[in-house]
Symmetry: C2
């Protein structure tokens, strides 16, 4: 079968669909193939393509297609990889609509909305969320396929996540703690034990004294479970404390909002420093003796992801068997976006 390259499509007579039923899209009397489909079928010697009265070799078709579409090589790398894994693929507004393994276009609904991107292109949170929403609205999975400089593809599933925790019944007597520069110390031994064992707040720095992080302190202060004083025993109110904490920690405000949301949902957040994230999160206080389930990193709604960094975060979260969530503010609340590597 010989088709004709025209614009960014290869055009066949519509009868071609009898021989190649799962490729191309009918339009009037024609069957239109995307450049990736055509290159793939040429390599597999299923079709030939003519252009300007000349039959193109595979190499010529690839070079010509690269001149027609900036993203051709990237998309072709992913297209071939998916076909090699047994998936049928159709072009769509989101780069590709991918059918479940064993499923076929026109016979089965698509399962994935797939976006193809080079590791070199930064991508905004808002752009990712737009993709998640349009996929989830029609019950598809959103997949970001990232092509690295050696043309290796990594697939990430991106979805919205809900946090559900145990009950949030923490309550404590109000006792005094002291802000020492960038950490808060609870001096009373009984109170320290109460905070630790009932709420998993803070960390013992010796047998009696508990050290609270800035977000923990702000949370306890806001809920009136502690009173905070400075080195001269002068009381520090919540607003003043938040102002001081924001000076110490540039992203304190968004961190605190996320911390509060996690605590209020009955989960427990502790520092994720060793994992390069803001928090590691336990679903319930009974779990705090074992491993945390999530890593949560707070980002602004305008955040731009650099893909090598995102790749590092996801890779690390998976080697320690935790789910990676990015938290952001929307409509006055906190939302969570989960990113995980998937094997297609």
């Amino acid at each position: 079968m010989i088709g004709e390259l025209s614009g960014d499509r290869v055009v066949f007579d519509k009868d071609a669909s009898l021989e190649l039923p799962y490729y191309g899209r009918k339009k009037g009397n024609m069957l239109l193939f995307s450049l990736e489909e055509a290159a793939y079928l040429m390599e597999h010697k299923k079709i030939s393509v003519g252009f300007k009265n000349k039959e193109l070799s595979v190499d010529e078709f690839i070079k010509t297609s690269s001149g027609i579409s900036d993203n051709f090589e990237l998309k072709y790398i992913v297209y071939k990889d998916l076909r090699a894994r047994g998936y049928f693929v159709q072009p769509s507004a989101t780069d590709f609509r991918v059918y479940p393994r064993g499923g076929r276009p026109n016979e089965t609904p698509a399962k994935y909305f797939m976006y193809v991107i080079s590791e070199r292109r930064p991508i905004g949170l808002s752009e990712l969320l737009k993709g998640v929403i349009s996929a989830e609205n029609v019950r598809k999975q959103m997949i970001l396929s990232i092509v690295d400089e050696e043309s290796d593809t990594t697939y990430y599933e991106i979805k919205s996540a809900k946090l559900c925790g145990g009950k949030n019944g923490f309550s404590a007597r109000k006792k005094t703690a002291t802000l020492l520069h960038d950490r808060v110390i609870v001096w009373d031994s009984d109170f320290s034990f109460e905070l630790d064992s009932n709420g998993f707040f803070g960390k013992f720095i010796d047998e009696n004294r508990l050290q609270l992080s800035l977000v923990e302190s702000a949370f306890l202060l806001k809920n009136e479970f502690i009173k905070i004083v400075d080195l001269n025993d002068k009381e520090i109110g919540l607003n003043e404390f938040i102002r001081l904490a924001s000076k110490i920690e540039g992203d304190f405000s968004i961190k605190f909002d996320v911390y509060e949301d996690i605590r209020n949902k009955g989960l427990i957040a502790k520092t994720g420093f060793k994992f390069g994230s803001h928090f590691r999160v336990y679903e319930d206080i009974s779990e705090t003796k074992s491993h945390s389930k999530y890593l949560v990193h707070a980002v602004s709604p305008e955040h731009i992801f650099l893909l090598p960094e995102m790749s590092r975060a996801i890779r690390l979260s998976q080697t320690v068997k935790k789910r990676m969530l990015f938290a952001y503010k929307k409509d006055g609340g906190i939302r969570y976006m989960e990113v995980g590597r998937v094997k297609m």
Copy 2:
């Protein structure tokens, strides 16, 4: 024994050293303790401390010391942690001089020069290198102890690293490859196999064609092993190629310098994208079938490390059992700084 708080020292009569031989430093008739030493010995009920004609409680001493020295809490957290692990510690210009386990001040030489830092403080490459040089000049190990917001300490050893690889005998016939936007394709099947099996360059995108990364292409071009043409078959010279590559990849120039250095030393660098670093590095071509030994990330001499990010990079490198190196330019050459987490 009762000492007197004076400035940022606690002063005892020099006879105190008979009872506490590994603490403090003699000065004339006096034995001077650092604030951390004094707090530690107070908590262990070995000494008492007076200030303004009043004996201080441990809590009062800690609060007072926090008012005297901004870094007191941080240093005290690390001091206590080291003592609990059985190390003797002396104050020094680098925060602490730490003796080997079983070793003691005045009896054994110190083993570590230790710096104490909060996870919140960014630290420049040049500052780290200064520490490495002053430690290595006197054959000590430089340790960075990073205190996170929950007062947990992680210890990182930082040292200079030398890369030694196999022999660098790669040579190839000069054939043509094409720059397609941001990747370079070798069309000739024999030449593709030669580049792959003799030099571990590129990656096959199908049975015949090899794709080269931008740094690989520039390296092969500079060594006159390939000729690169654009989509219109116009030849691209080395300078022009580097200019184009730098437009595609912001940090191409430093990446290429490091890539070239690694290749010229007989090692093999491939993309480290999945690990969030510029390169994964094999010591020898015979190793390329198994695991790479290093992750290498190129940074500018002015680079400022954010510690949570550094923590993530190191943590990831260790979960995949690779050594993490940062490469930078100095005196016209490339140097490597290794960072690894150590258990003290």
